[in-house]
Point group: D2
Chain length 289, copies 4
């Protein structure tokens, strides 16, 4: 059996904490009860933190608002790193003109739209504008007709040799205690296999997510990877990605990895967190204020 | 460059011909012009033949009717082996009671329904009957709401440890000269990866398709695999499957494999047909009647 | 928790029993103590049986001898179906002349040699005879120099578009209580990925193994798939393959699948055996003779 | 047909050039004739450059020496970024004590040895020290007995839940005009599949290689990704990785990608370089000095 560590004493050892969002700060029912104490403690101790999330469905401002509505007032948009931000960066650097076709909601597209490119839903691509499509982005599993628009996506990609960006690498996400939804990452894998091309993926465990946060930290002053700890509930994304980037890692048992299964999963995958905690919640009695 | 063989002279060397359907007998425009002469010749020469097809969207009777409507009167349902027939056999042998949930059209389900099991579309499964679902079948890419019913399928399979049958292994199929549609086999791969289970697949290149036809032949009298030639347009299904089953094989260039690319594809895949022909059409002048 | 069934009472319900070898009849220490009683019972009850094994390292005669040496005198070579036999059948039907290059021991090659083809170890292929190589077979993980001969195999396959047969699909096999060896099936996967070609695999769960045994049974008289039960220790090969072929299946807990993990594995894979037994051993008191 | 660009005029547009090594600067015969002019031009124009290579077989000092021996005196070790350096960084950050077991030559291990950890070849691991093994590294395809040490590696990883680092992601590398050798990346994939664990890979197309070079550049002064161009001969590693990191990219036709196949490969993969050049060689007449 693995030893369970105390989350507060781990936080005390680092200058910066990276958090995954789903399964760590919130779940299908809303915020984890007591998680506000963790952020109060970080604030009081003047620790820096980032939320590093495979979520391209909304802008950082909208993501931050979703925490503030629920009472986590300290989480502002500059504390959020999403795979959608990396997608926007890619388009800024690599796609200079023409149309960016997308699968997702208008909200998700509004965000990447700000690059000055012309973003259009896949449903709006036709014989008259297909030659101007210079990139295609998988943003969200909602906001389009799966049957019509996935078939159209396959045919666009058979005709155009263009970069395809998958802005969320997850295959599924929980929607209730027992049910999940297919995520845009799972859909993108199907399309990639059918068209036989290589897509570009942004999202943990890929290092580019961590690099983005690390760059923001370096802009604020000298920092070492040894000063940062990554907290997540999923071995294959949060912990593998954090480890690979050279960070210490905390597996919390409040999400994807069940307490009675954590040891088995670690042995089976060989993905070993530095610490294991019940959750990222700091108890009231521990705070001292 | 590969040598192009004459189809009629190949037919002359065998007692039985197995044909793939799409790309060999018909394409997105209908029957291949002149293919009726091939069947007239088989009839006149008293050669046996079977159409061996990865198609579970309709019953053999309906598939046969689709040829007869177009003028190929000799193709009767007893000449058709479909992956749907193997699915029906599986359910007859292995699933004794309860509900078989399916993704597909009512037409595709009507056929497997004859086993006496209760077949229900995935959309009709709910908390009240999920415990009676004893198998789930991927039949056709049409006839259901992709967004709702694929998400429901994932959640049914997370709750029930039941056999899942994929009755068509193709990933995509052509609908016009330039466009394809995603096939149910491609969709099933996505769901299989998300739920992490092992599905049962019927369809070429799997040997069970060929075994089914071979068994029917043996019921008619002594036969050797050396007496049979398999004709197809796709290296990875028709030719690989035929080769593996021990049959001689003909690659025709009227479908998936383009004449200018056939040699490259054979070298790249290492899947080598016994013969290569332009098509399975026998020319008028060759018939002699 | 899954119900544990009594093996003898299962045998009583069928006319024919198919057995996997490793983990069912024997393990790394030798024969399972008491397994001779099971074969005595089959003999006494005049039940037919076949051993269906992913083993191409020796001929059926040699495999049978290995049981007889240990005291299982009733197991004769005509009761053994190996993936090596399917390989031999393939070569008989599909490769007419030239050299068959192989990776394995001379024993494994001696067996396929009987087809009249010239079999040569990969190490004996050079610029002077490479053009005559018309097939390449992965037979056994022993009998060759991995570094030299695997690199040579890759380069032969880059130059020759020929069928490649993998005569054992297993990735690893147990050699002691705690240790495994890499099997030729795992090595073949590596080579296949590097050369980018499609290999032909014989071995469970592929149906052709079961078809071979079923054909032998039909030669002896009328039989239905409902009369046969497949006994194995591995969900992904024995049980999946038996199920797919339409047979009832018994998972025994004397090999790959641990008693405390069987339920989890069945739920996780969705591969459901008809029965679960501790082992295929019939107890002394049950025999009645 | 794709337009062929002039390499010198591309270099003129950027401040920094990243080069792949094999297929760009050298091939199986040695340095590309004339490549010294390219480095003379970079020197004269005061352009910065890095060689970004999936090579963990030697230290940067040894890699640099291999260029200098052949006359490329300007290439010093501080211009070389190898996947081996990322491996060393990982061990420095994440593995604090114990043994690092490795597959490779003593030369490759000597380099990672400098971290202060105890490095031992896999062949030296036994029951007495296996519990101290805290990481395992795939460094090079030479320097060990494939049969004995790969089997031993599998069994070490079945017993120890430890990070496994693959320091070269290539599957094969050219050794003569027509022949390749299996690379350690291909071997690592086989072992990963057999043990069912998740390995950590360093090497293009992974972003961490490019990040490492980019960080070195930023230490020298302000730089933007727009100022850098990546030059490589392989779409799936150099071009995909460069594109994903946000760099402009040059595909050269002097290595893995043949001139008559480049257009097909780009369309088939959807990996689109910014430019295509015959090679990275600048012609004598272009230099002007």
């Amino acid at each position: 059996m693995n030893k369970i560590d105390n989350f507060k004493s781990i936080v005390d050892r680092y200058k910066v904490v990276f958090f995954d969002a789903f399964g760590v700060l919130k779940n299908y029912k809303g915020l984890l009860p007591g998680i506000e104490r963790t952020f109060a403690y970080l604030e009081q101790q003047k620790k820096e933190y980032y939320i590093v999330t495979n979520d391209a469905s909304r802008s950082p401002a909208q993501l931050a608002e979703s925490y503030q509505i629920k009472g986590l007032y300290t989480i502002t948009s500059d504390h959020i790193i999403s795979s959608g931000m990396l997608t926007k960066d890619y388009l800024d650097l690599k796609v200079n003109d023409g149309i960016v076709a997308y699968l997702g909601t208008p909200d998700s597209a509004h965000y990447i739209d700000s690059t000055g490119l012309h973003t259009l839903p896949v449903s709006a691509i036709d014989a008259g504008n297909i030659d101007k499509v210079n990139a295609l982005v998988f943003l969200d599993d909602e906001g389009f007709n799966w049957f019509e628009d996935l078939n159209k996506t396959v045919n666009i990609l058979r005709k155009r040799a263009i970069p395809v960006i998958v802005a969320n690498t997850d295959h599924a996400y929980p929607v209730t205690k027992h049910d999940v939804s297919i995520a845009i990452g799972g859909i993108a894998n199907m399309v990639e296999k059918i068209v036989g091309k290589e897509f570009i993926r942004f999202g943990k465990p890929d290092s580019q997510m961590f690099m983005f946060a690390y760059d923001l930290l370096r802009d604020q002053g000298p920092i070492s990877k040894k000063d940062i700890v990554m907290v997540g509930d999923t071995l294959q994304t949060d912990i593998l990605g954090g480890n690979k980037f050279g960070l210490d890692t905390v597996l919390v048992l409040s999400g994807n990895t069940r307490p009675d299964d954590a040891g088995n999963r670690i042995n089976a995958t060989g993905i070993v967190p530095t610490y294991i905690c019940d959750s990222a919640v700091i108890e009231h009695g521990e705070l001292g204020f």
